[in-house]
Symmetry: C2
Subunit: 165 residues, 2 copies
DNA sequence: CGGATCTCAGATCAACTGAGATAA
DNA sequence: CTTATCTCAGTTCATCTGAGATCC
């Protein structure tokens, strides 16, 4: 009984932590006229430019249709451009515009204090342990039962450097 | 430089873990015709019935307006009822209907395998450590800078038993 | 052909903002 | 008068489904 309860607690703690981080990030990004989730895409593109929407979905741990909708919004704001892919004519290559790159650089510079707050409660080894725990959850909740298959596994994801809200 | 990067990694890992859990939960709850976030409210009410919308917001780590909108949906589905509060005539007392209680009980019974998957990667002490880490994040990201004040702190929340998606 | 990648239309929901009523 | 609780109208965004085009 203490056992089953702890799964409840874990799920709730994960939810609360994520939501609180997301709210802080949204509030921080407000003056930049960009949402936290859009900033994630900005990060993904800052790491590797000219990739397809498909690959963005994978790297951002998101759904392709969702990513497309977000990219449409970001294209209207002239943060990204979508040009026909060179070799695969079905696909689009998504690139950061100059404006997009500048916005990313500006946010990257200013977001440090927020990241400090996020990391303040932890020693470096705590942070690594926590990241490892969280990755195990992602692993357990994707490769497993349910619809799973269109999801990306953490082991794949680990090959890329990460970026973030 | 390894230092600033790890905040990025942490934020991304938290995001990915939460989203993967949320997707699995949503998929699991699909047959029950209820969303993961609505189930959170169901849990909150199952623990303590007849509370105000305000208190639900606090316990669910959510925004009062958001909670109200969700309760309206849940009321249409006859899962909750909102009746005038006895002592405070501004407030509404939210209670589970019989249907709501039965749905909660049914889900509670069947959700065990999902919770097992969530908890599988961890020894009991790992789970507790992880919960404690996550609570520290919630703490750091609420009591601090920004809009903060309408948010509930973890220390308050710890007084209540928790419930969850 | 089968499978991958995208587009589009449309639905649902969550998350807010801001204005205002009402009552403590 | 001030503050708290809720209602309502309206916005924006994320998420996803399903149908279909195009191309590998």
């Amino acid at each position: 009984m203490g056992h089953m309860q702890s799964a409840h607690e874990l799920a709730f703690a994960l939810r609360t932590a994520y939501l609180s981080m997301h709210r802080q990030t949204s509030a921080f990004l407000l003056p930049f006229r960009i949402t936290a989730d859009q900033f994630v895409l900005l990060c993904v593109l800052a790491q590797r430019d000219g990739i397809t929407q498909q690959e963005i979905s994978t790297r951002a741990a998101s759904d392709p249709n969702t990513v497309r909708a977000m990219l449409v919004l970001m294209q209207k704001k002239e943060l990204v451009a979508r040009t026909p892919h060179q070799t695969d004519r079905r696909a689009l290559a998504v690139t950061l515009t100059k404006k997009g790159r500048m916005l990313y650089a500006e946010i990257f510079k200013q977001i440090q204090p927020l990241h400090d707050v996020l990391q303040a409660p932890f020693l470096p080894e705590d942070t690594q342990a926590l990241i490892s725990y969280l990755d195990r959850i992602s692993e357990a909740m994707t490769s497993r039962s349910g619809q799973a298959d269109r999801q990306n596994s953490v082991s794949e994801r680990k090959l890329h450097k990460r970026c973030q809200v």
